[in-house]
Each structure stands twice: as structure tokens, then as C-alpha cells.
């Protein structure tokens, strides 16, 4: 999960990484109480790095200009999102701009230090200039020194960058982060450093042992708190008309792929998770299915629900019972279900659901075709033969927003 710039800077400040005096602005009128002297920079707090080019950053010289600029920024969408908060920050005269980051590298299975003398907006254009140092053993400051040297620094600047990388690394490990990035790290004319913009990605799995981060995150308006460690059901919304429920990330992706290949469009989906979440073993499967169906069918555009569950310890019958229970409870509005099951007691499961006009397939391909077919037709309670060809209305890549589960 990403932090907003002002939250990242709060963590930088705690760690002793130099940041400018700044103030969080929730409403334009708060600029009347600004404690930072002008000139001031107002920055849209959104989760994208391209805000500068889009007008999300403005320099202001006095309170009247500041309020006007803040109103403009609050009403300026960046990549479709409006900021909930601005950051008002002192202005800084950078002579040069560096790029520094600490990230996890899955190839070496180690943290990696990244740095370049060509930071700021230049970084994308000069990717080949980014130096890397893999932290192969337990960290020690010489890894940071190695990076500073690879970046081509010397003297005072080498020491200063080493010091900041060391602090970034400590932040990275103490807070269980996936990424700490400073870009630009400004260099003043007297070779002093300042973190002008920062990005922090919190590791979702570790948030349960990071109470301070969890409370920091809770202060972001509209921010979804990571759910990886809870057993809460995570619904991902899309723009079609088929609700999808699967168990396991790989199986969910495969099912969505098949749906799209058959010209079907998902309205939303839920991945119930694999079989090895410590907090929610298959024994609580039925409750979770019920919750998931609730969420999926709350979306009015859902014309059909496709269920694809590969049973492990849980039997097909247990899944079927959960579906049957839900359909009975939901009796008024009746969204049709198409179900694919694998596992023990398949035939009992099929029998139970057949009695409720819910088709149950052994093959994913067939279940997908049936779901797509039903999504294209007007809502109906009758069961079609499994092997009909589908003719969906539209194809094309809808802008999916996918979350981790």
C-alpha cells in the first residue's frame, strides 16, 4: 500500500532524513493559518508521480494566491482522482537533483539500494544511469557507501548521501516497507541535501506488526486499509456485468482470462484466497462465501454470478450448500448463478443446486461460456443447455483496477 507524500515525509522526519518545513492542508481556508513563510509550494496529495506536469504543483507568494491555487488543485483530477489533502511546503533552491531508493528485489531475494545523480524528472530518461547495490548480507553502512561511490560521488557529498541511504535502509527494515524512494533528493549550492519528494510503499503482510504505520494509514481519507492479514472479503470492481467468485489468485486470474477470451465482462470479482491463510482456514469457508455473494450482488449491474471453486479440504457439497442458502435468503431479487465445482461430493452438490435451477459444471470452459451467455441475455431463471455459443456485446480492454489479495 502506498503512502501519500506528506505521510512519507513524516516518517523521513522521524528517521532524521532532512525534509522541508511543511503543513498538511485539508481545506483552502487553512492556508490563512500557514506557519511556513512565503514563497510556498502547494502539492496535490495523490498516488501518482505525474502530478507536476498536470498542474498539481503550484508556487505561491501570498495568502490570497495560495487559497486560489489550493481551490484549483482540490478541483483538479490527477489520473481521474481528486486530492483529499494538499501539502504546503517551503520552497527550496536545488542546484542538482539525485534519485535514491531502497526496494526489494525478487530475483536476488534481497533488498537493493538504487541511486543516480540524474534524479527528478530526468530519472525516466536516464534509467541506465541508476546504480544498484544488492544488500547480500546483514546491512552495514558500507553498502550505502558503495552505492554513493557507484553513483560517482566523492568527499562531503559521498558522506552525506551515505548517511541518507543508511537512514532510508533503517526505515525500510524497521517499518517493513516494500519501497522507500526519494526523488528528487535536492543538492543545494553548498552541497546540503533535502528530500523534496518521497514515496513509501508499505508491505501489506507486515502491517499487523506495525501499529504506528497502521494508525498513520488510518488518517488518509478513502484509503483502503490492507486486508492481507485479516479474513475480510476484498471485492474488486470492474465495468462489466458478470460477478465472479473464485478461490486462489492464480485460479481467479485464469478465470478472468477465460471470461475475457469468451467476450464476457466482469462486473467485479472476489478472490476467497488460497488454502493457507493462517487466519481463515477452509473451515470458515461457508461464512466467507455468504459474505462474498452479498458484496458481489450488491452491484446492480451484475446480471449473473460465476462461481469457480476448486475444493480442497472443503467439499463441493459445502460450497453448494452455501450457494443454496444464499439463494434462499436472497429470494426476492434473484441474480442467476453459474457454478463450476471440483472436489469431493460433486454429484450431491450438483443435485442440490439443480433443484434450484443453478447449473453446475465440471469444466471451467463450459461454466464461463454459460455465464457469458446469460450475461448477454435478459435476466432469466431458466437454465440453458451448457454448450451454447455466446455473443457478448463488447470487447476491448476496460481499465481494470486490480488489488492484491
Amino acid at each position: 500500500m502506498d503512502l501519500l507524500e506528506y505521510q512519507a515525509k513524516e516518517l523521513f522526519r522521524q528517521q532524521g532524513i532532512p525534509v522541508l518545513p511543511s503543513q498538511r492542508i485539508d481545506r483552502p481556508t487553512e492556508l490563512k493559518g500557514l506557519t511556513i513563510p512565503f514563497p510556498v509550494v502547494l502539492k496535490s496529495q495523490v498516488y501518482t508521480s505525474a502530478r507536476g506536469k498536470m498542474g498539481g504543483i503550484r508556487f505561491v507568494e501570498n495568502t490570497i494566491d495560495a487559497i486560489a491555487a489550493a481551490q484549483a488543485i482540490f478541483h483538479l483530477p490527477i489520473m481521474g482522482k481528486y486530492p483529499k489533502v494538499l501539502l504546503a511546503e517551503a520552497k527550496y533552491n536545488a542546484e542538482r537533483e539525485f534519485y535514491i531508493a531502497v526496494a526489494l528485489d525478487s530475483a536476488t531475494r534481497r533488498p537493493v539500494l538504487l541511486g543516480s545523480q540524474f534524479g527528478g524528472v530526468e530519472v525516466e530518461a536516464k534509467l541506465s544511469k541508476i546504480s544498484q547495490v544488492v544488500v547480500t548480507q546483514e546491512f552495514s553502512p558500507y553498502y550505502a557507501r558503495r552505492l554513493a561511490l557507484k553513483m560517482g560521488l566523492e568527499g562531503k557529498l559521498l558522506s552525506a548521501v551515505t548517511d541518507i541511504v543508511e537512514k532510508m535502509y533503517r526505515l525500510f527494515t524497521e517499518r517493513d516497507l516494500d519501497l522507500v524512494e526519494i526523488n528528487p533528493l535536492a543538492v543545494s549550492s553548498n552541497q546540503e541535501l533535502m528530500a523534496l519528494d518521497g514515496k513509501i510503499v508499505v508491505n501489506d503482510a507486515a502491517i499487523g506488526r506495525q501499529p504506528e504505520l497502521a494508525s498513520l494509514v488510518a488518517t488518509i481519507p478513502d484509503q483502503a486499509v490492507p486486508h492481507a492479514l485479516t479474513c475480510s472479503i476484498n471485492l474488486v470492481e470492474r465495468e462489466g456485468n458478470i460477478g465472479v467468485l473464485c478461490n486462489g489468485a492464480g485460479l481467479t486470474m485464469a478465470t478472468l482470462d477465460l471470461l475475457q477470451k469468451s467476450k464476457g465482462k466482469a462486473a467485479n470479482f472476489v478472490d476467497l484466497g488460497g488454502d493457507y491463510r493462517h487466519c481463515c482456514p477452509p473451515s470458515v469457508l461457508q461464512d466467507r462465501l455468504k459474505q462474498a455473494f452479498d458484496l458481489i450482488t450488491q452491484e446492480k449491474s451484475v446480471k449473473v454470478v460465476l462461481v469457480n471453486i476448486l475444493g480442497g479440504v472443503a467439499s463441493c457439497l459445502q460450497v453448494a450448500e452455501a450457494i443454496a442458502g444464499f439463494l434462499k435468503w436472497q429470494s426476492g431479487q434473484q441474480v442467476p448463478f453459474v457454478v463450476r465445482l471440483a472436489g469431493d461430493q460433486f454429484h450431491s452438490a450438483r443435485g442440490l443446486l439443480a433443484a434450484m435451477d443453478v447449473p453446475v459444471f465440471e469444466s471451467i470452459d463450459e461454466a464461463v461460456l454459460e455465464a457469458v451467455k446469460r450475461s448477454a441475455a435478459p435476466a432469466t431463471q431458466s437454465v440453458s443447455p451448457p454448450h451454447g455459443a455466446s455473443q457478448p456485446a463488447q470487447t476491448g480492454n476496460s481499465p481494470l483496477i486490480l488489488a492484491s489479495a
Binding site: D105, L179, G250, Y276, H278, L310
Partner: protein, 313 residues
């Protein structure tokens, strides 16, 4: 060359079939996942000789003696070959370090949600002790009708000659089920785990299956994100003689996005901004270069495997 280094990096695993007779210790036997899967493993014939769950020492679980400490268990029941770990996420690091300190050199980490920095330390220790680690967030290993080291649902599998290597959980079983229904049994199936930082790699398992006499063909089940598939494809081209068929889930997901396994693409997002590694195109192109046929849906896999086997004969 980097592939070779990688394969050497994390303990030299035994040839696949050597897992079959393993004496197994289960850590977290008294915890929910352990309680659920230990009977399944036992019924499958896995020889679980001891369990460990701190504060439960002296009790029994599913007829298996439970100890407070791994070294104490070994003292009582003798050496073990493999530990399967079902412990809670934040105690996984400690449990794995304990197992390694007690001399166990093969670990299967089942639990999901291990903080990646814990995995970094765990794998550093695994490298220095030459311990072979599968997972975390993994269904483990199954050798049909011989042994189950993890959570694979047995009904999907039957003995045969196709090896399955996968990053997924239920999707691994889905692929096995398609093969089984088509009459193609499996020599072994392994889920290496879906997280950003995992122990054993695709390459290590390709090497194991290349050397395994029981295995005649290999199915590689990948996902978008990360660069494991690209690296595996290069390794196949370099070092694997047996036929390989691939499948990649998530190919219709938008570029740079990922379902499910958090954090897996951090490094490509940062260190390789702008390059195509991790994307569908990159993975499909890598397999094409390695002459590995790619199934466009799970149900096509059996046919491609049969074609590959025929072509070879």
C-alpha cells in the same frame, strides 16, 4: 550465467523421488492450518514422525507426539528429512531458523502472509546452511500416491510422468486435474509460492525434474508480474532437454498490474522502469524464444503435453 548461480544459491535439493520416503516433522501442528492438513497428509501416507508447537509439548495431535522445540523432537524421534511449516506468519522466520539450527535441510513453508523482510533473513540463513526451502504461501509438494508435503487436494492427482511447477495454489491443482482427466498422471507437483520473495525457484525445480527419471514432460504454470517466467524460459533454452509446456495466468490483466500476490513486481517497477519485464508480452516472447509451447487455457495443456511427448519420440 545468472541462472546457474541462482540454482546453486539455495541448497542442492535431493532428486525429486527422494522426497517419497521422507521422515517428516510438522511445525505448527497445534495451530489451525496444521490441525486441518496434518490428517490429510497422514491419510495420503506421509510419514509424520513428530510435531512441534511451543507450549503444546507433551501432548499428541492426530496420534503424533508434539514437542516444544525442534531439537527436542529430533532427540526423541531421531533425524527428520523435511519440515512442513504451518505456523502463524510472524513466527515463520523463527520456526524456520529453529529447524535449520536443528539440522533440517528441507523446509516447506505453507502459510501465507510472511513479511518479505523475514523471508530475506530466512533465505540468507538457508543459503549459508545449504537448506532447500519451498514457499512460503505454497501448497507444497505432492508425489501422487507416495507423499504429500503440504495442502494439494489429492483427488486432482494420479501417478504418472508429468511434472508440474507452479507459482499458484488452486491453479496448480486445476492444471493437475486437467491432466488427470486426460489420462496424464503426474510424477510430482510443486507450488513454489506466490509471494515476491520465495525460496526454491522455477530453475531449481526444472533442474530437479530434468534429472528425475519418473518425469517425461514438464508443465510450468506462471503468472503475470515478476520475472520468474522470463528467467525460467532462458534456463529451459540453456539447460532443459525434456519437453516443457507453459501456461500463464493473468494475460488479460492490464499491463503493470497484478492480481493477488503483493509486491512481486517491486523490483521491475523500480529498477527496470519502462522495460517490459513482467508483462504478458515479455513472458510470451520469452517462452517463444525458448521454443516452449504456451497453452492459452488450462484445458489445452494436456493436448500440448501429448504433442510435445509425441514430437520427442
Amino acid at each position: 550465467m545468472s541462472e546457474i548461480r541462482e540454482v546453486r544459491g539455495l541448497g542442492q535439493p535431493l532428486p525429486a523421488m527422494d522426497f517419497a520416503g521422507s521422515r517428516v516433522l510438522v511445525q505448527g501442528i497445534a495451530e489451525p492450518l496444521g490441525a486441518l492438513y496434518v490428517p490429510l497428509m497422514q491419510r495420503y501416507g506421509t510419514s509424520i514422525v513428530a510435531g512441534v508447537s511451543p507450549a503444546f509439548g507433551g501432548t499428541e495431535a492426530a496420534g503424533i507426539p508434539v514437542f516444544d522445540l525442534v531439537e527436542q523432537a529430533i532427540e526423541q524421534v531421531g533425524a527428520v528429512d523435511v519440515a512442513v511449516l504451518f505456523v502463524a506468519p510472524y513466527t515463520m522466520l523463527d520456526a524456520a531458523l529453529e529447524a535449520m539450527a536443528a539440522g533440517i535441510r528441507q523446509l516447506v513453508l505453507v502459510t501465507e502472509g510472511i513479511p518479505p523482510l523475514d523471508m530475506v533473513r530466512l533465505l540468507r540463513e538457508a543459503e549459508s546452511t545449504e537448506t532447500f526451502v519451498v514457499g512460503p504461501s505454497s501448497p507444497g509438494i505432492i508425489i501422487p500416491d507416495k507423499i504429500l508435503l503440504g495442502t494439494h487436494p489429492p483427488y486432482c492427482y494420479q501417478p504418472g510422468s508429468v511434472g508440474i511447477i507452479s507459482r499458484s495454489g488452486t491453479l496448480t491443482s486445476e492444471v493437475a486435474l486437467e491432466l488427470t482427466r486426460a489420462g496424464l498422471g503426474q510424477s510430482i507437483a510443486v507450488g513454489i509460492g506466490g509471494d515476491a520473495i520465495v525460496g526454491s525457484s522455477f530453475q531449481q525445480w526444472l533442474q530437479i525434474l530434468e534429472e528425475d527419471e519418473q518425469t517425461e514432460a514438464i508443465v510450468l504454470v506462471g503468472e503475470i508480474g515478476g520475472e520468474s517466467e522470463e528467467t525460467a524460459a532462458r534456463y529451459i533454452a540453456e539447460a532443459i532437454e525434456k519437453p516443457v509446456v507453459a501456461y500463464v495466468a493473468g494475460i488479460t490483466a492490464p499491463k503493470g498490474q497484478q492480481i493477488g500476490h503483493a509486491g512481486a513486481i517491486i523490483s521491475s517497477r523500480i529498477a527496470r522502469i519502462g522495460t517490459e519485464i513482467g508483462s504478458v508480452e515479455s513472458k510470451l516472447a520469452a517462452f517463444k524464444r525458448a521454443k516452449v509451447p504456451v497453452a492459452d487455457r488450462p484445458s489445452k495443456i494436456p493436448k500440448l503435453v501429448m504433442q510435445a511427448l509425441e514430437k520427442r519420440c
